[in-house]
Amino acid sequence: MSETALIEISTLVKRYGDKLAVNNVSLEVHAGEVFGFLGPNGAGKTTTIKMIVGLLQPTAGTVRVAGYDVQAQPLLAKASSGYVPDTPNLYAKLTGRELLRFVGDLYNLDRKQVAQRTDELLRMFDLTAAADDTVDSYSHGMQQKTSLASALMHDPRVLVLDEPTVGLDPKSARLIKDILRQMADRGAAVFLSTHILEIAERMCDRIGIINQGELVAVGTMNELRSLGKAGEVSLEDIFLGLTGGAEEAEIAEILK
């Protein structure tokens, strides 16, 4: 892992009317790092991610991607990043191959490069057989893989993923985990949000936990363990401890 910060979030705030969705979040993700972003539903994960990739304007604070300010230099920042949303809304009437070509055009890639990269990505994600079918005939998992393939089309230095493994079969989930690790090993910064704590614990170098819009903890697993109470060794315990796990425990008791 290098010391070069590829994602720099500084005192980020997002307000919707009276509601404070993200409150003063600051963190850095370095080159070669897989960063896990955890939090309960409605904690502000997706809002933060959307501000990182330039889909949403922050109320205050700055986000720099690959050294470029997302607000001041959006084109350079966006050219350096790839994004996989939680719901893969893709152009339903394009084929998988056409969609990747379109993405290649959006990122101003050379036509030969696009053709070659498209074939590589389709093979890698096991989509070659369905490459000339329209996206609306794909299963959710195939659409998720197509979405990831389009995010990797321009070989970004920063990859931002919102719940990338939702709806994937174990084989595809494993493939995605391997790809993310490989990207990080090649010097990219990977920022992913997930609800699956096992994924975060096993594949992330550092983890940030957001609750009610505030970043309540950030660090490696060992650093997070030191933040928790004695006996909290698993990420689940630490997560529940930091995000109001007592309430969940009560609910679990009722359900027993």
């Binding site: 889909l55 949403l56 084109l75 809304n89 893709l90 009437k93 056409e98 990122y107």
Partner: protein, 599 residues
């Protein structure tokens, strides 16, 4: 672990009631949470429909009473008694066919596309109750609408013929029985089709065909009149119509039994009436139960969910072959210059969006139906235009000469008017909805390193190029037919593209300001009244813009100055103003494009 056993309701009728109540609750909630304007409109519409039904009842009563009068037969010599007796058959045939066809689309949605079937079938509710509810859901709205017209007619028939009291409830019961039987058969038809074709594609095709048919039918009357066909109906035509309608009233037609049974009961011919009514109810119940049981079985066994006809793979004349061919084949010098020129002129993102949008416009039938409409309009009005010979109607011949001359002069620009009209219609959809049509996919453009100017250019061209092609097609075609002088035609070749470009700029700007990415139904793509405002403004813009091109021509002709000055001044004025309209409005909203899609 503490256990809580839900109270299970396996009984059929309570389950049906529960599911219907759920639908009612959804409708009531929809009404409760609607905007006040929508609530008022709904109430007014319901009251209007009820008033209309009352009016039909009154009209049928009076009219049918008149038709039954012996004096009519005596003076006109037209015996309409067989027609009156066949009237219930006609109404029932109409009802049956309408429900059969209209339920198809609703059932396709309800069984395959609504997404609640899995939830309902996995809950402890009898599967039959789910299907009955779905059938009722499909039948009720259309049944209500058809009854609103059919019921008053049949009640009017009863009142005018002094039928006994049993006739009236039996009319309603027969209509219900026939509607349910039709819906049951429709459900089977849906499953048969869904077995062969993907349900979503069928729904798209249905929507496309329905829209085109509805539009064509609505315009057929205009075209018919324009060709000089009279709408006055002669006695012979009435007689022919009666003969045609009477063909439904054959003894072997099952819907005849329903109609004749009712008439017989109404007139007090009890034996025939009871026999035919029993036959009708028996057959309807059998058809309904058979359809229901078969549909359940086909759905549950998975037969109706599995497409047996494998889709033929399209030949790979797609990106794969294109890209590989492009990559492997060396470019000739001229091709290289052309490619370089294209790349300079249109950056890759612009070309990418153009290519993507043209593919989507062609493939998505929901778009296609909206794009074909201007074409139909254009062809129809062109035919009407040529029917009148491109000359104004002389009327009583009392109009002053100057008025007739001005009208003739205006109509000599029929070629331009038609192409601008078609362009206005097409641009309203393509340009006004250019951004909204991205819908939930807009994130892909938003997350990409795409300049607002590139996006605007791409969207401008996506709307402009097909409109220009269609506009020039109409312009050339009509000019040829009108034998327009070459100079005038060449001048129009400049004026029309420029007017369309200006209109495109205005509509595109309105499209950006009113962009809506949250639609599910493409008909709700346009949010608020901005789209209408844009259309209205361009309606004013078009004559003004074209006026700038042609007014100098009129002036030089009025003052006997050389024609070339008129062309020159008109060209400069027109190009400057329309060019400004093409560029300025999109430029004004450029900043807004950067912020689009941010909640």
């Amino acid at each position: 672990m503490s256990t809580m056993t839900p109270s299970l309701s396996y009984r059929f009728l309570p389950a049906v009631w529960k599911l219907i109540r759920l639908r009612l609750l959804i409708s009531v909630n929809g009404f409760k949470h609607a905007k006040i304007r929508r609530k008022i409109l709904t109430i007014v519409a319901i009251l209007g429909l009820l008033t209309f039904a009352g009016f039909i009842l009154f009209l049928s009563w009076i009219l049918l009473g008149f038709l039954r009068s012996p004096q009519l037969m005596q003076y006109v010599g037209l015996d309409v008694t067989p027609f009156l007796q066949a009237m219930p058959v006609l109404v029932f045939t109409g009802l049956f066919l309408s429900i059969l066809l209209s339920s198809f689309g609703v059932l396709l949605q309800a069984l395959y596309l609504s997404g609640d079937m899995d939830f309902l079938l996995s809950s402890p509710v009898p599967i039959r109750a789910v299907f009955v509810t779905k059938l009722l859901q499909a039948v009720l709205p259309n049944f209500g609408l058809i009854s609103l017209f059919g019921l008053p007619v049949l009640y009017g028939l009863g009142l005018s013929g002094h039928y006994n009291f049993l006739y009236y409830p039996l009319v309603l019961l027969t209509m219900i029985a026939l509607a349910l039987a039709a819906a049951g058969l429709s459900a089977l038809l849906v499953m048969l089709v869904a077995r062969v074709f993907p349900a979503r594609r069928v729904a798209e095709v249905l929507g496309f065909v329905g829209a085109i048919l509805a539009f064509s039918c609505s315009q057929a009357g205009n075209l018919y009149n324009s060709f000089g066909h009279s709408t006055n109906v002669s006695g012979a035509q009435v007689s022919n119509m009666f003969t045609l309608l009477m063909r439904f009233n054959t003894p072997w037609f099952p819907l005849n039994w329903a109609g004749q049974g009712l008439v017989a009961l109404g007139e007090g011919r009890w034996l025939t009436g009871v026999l035919l009514a029993t036959l009708t109810f028996g057959l309807s119940a059998t058809a309904f139960m058979f359809s229901l049981a078969t549909a359940e079985r086909l759905y549950y066994s998975g037969w109706a969910g599995m497409q047996v006809v494998a889709r033929r793979k399209k030949p790979l004349r797609t990106v794969q072959s294109d890209a590989k061919r492009d990559a492997s084949r060396p470019l000739t010098a001229s091709q290289g210059i052309l490619a370089l020129g294209m790349e300079r002129l249109l950056p890759a993102p612009v070309r990418g969006i153009l290519w993507k949008d043209f593919l989507l416009l062609r493939r998505d039938l929901r778009n296609l139906s909206q794009l074909i409409t201007p074409l139909i309009f254009g062809v129809m009005y062109s035919l009407m235009f040529f029917r009148t010979g491109g000359l104004p109607s002389t009327g009583q011949g009392e109009a002053p000469a100057w008025l007739m001359n001005s009208l003739s002069l205006l109509l000599s620009y029929g070629n331009v008017g038609m192409s601008l009209f078609v362009g206005w219609w097409l641009l309203g959809r393509l340009s006004g909805m250019a951004f909204s049509s991205e819908g939930r996919n807009y994130w892909m453009l938003k997350a990409a390193p795409l300049r607002a100017s590139h996006l605007l250019t791409a969207k401008f061209l996506v709307a402009y190029l097909p409109t220009l092609a269609l506009g020039l097609l109409f312009l050339s075609g009509i000019s040829l037919m009108q034998k327009i002088p070459l100079a005038g035609f060449l001048y129009s070749l400049v004026a029309v593209p420029m007017c369309l470009a200006g209109m495109n700029g205005i509509l595109l700007a309105f499209g950006v300001v009113g962009a809506n990415f949250k639609w599910e139904d493409p008909r709700k793509m346009s949010a608020g009244g901005l789209g209408c405002l844009g259309q209205f403004l361009t309606m004013l813009y078009l004559p003004l813009a074209f006026g700038l091109f042609i007014t100098p021509l009129w002036l030089v002709s009025a003052f006997n100055w050389p024609q070339v000055y008129g062309y020159l001044v008109g060209f400069i004025l027109g190009v400057c103003v329309t060019g400004a309209c093409a560029i300025l409005p999109p430029w004004l909203v450029k900043g807004k494009v950067d912020r689009l899609g941010e909640v």
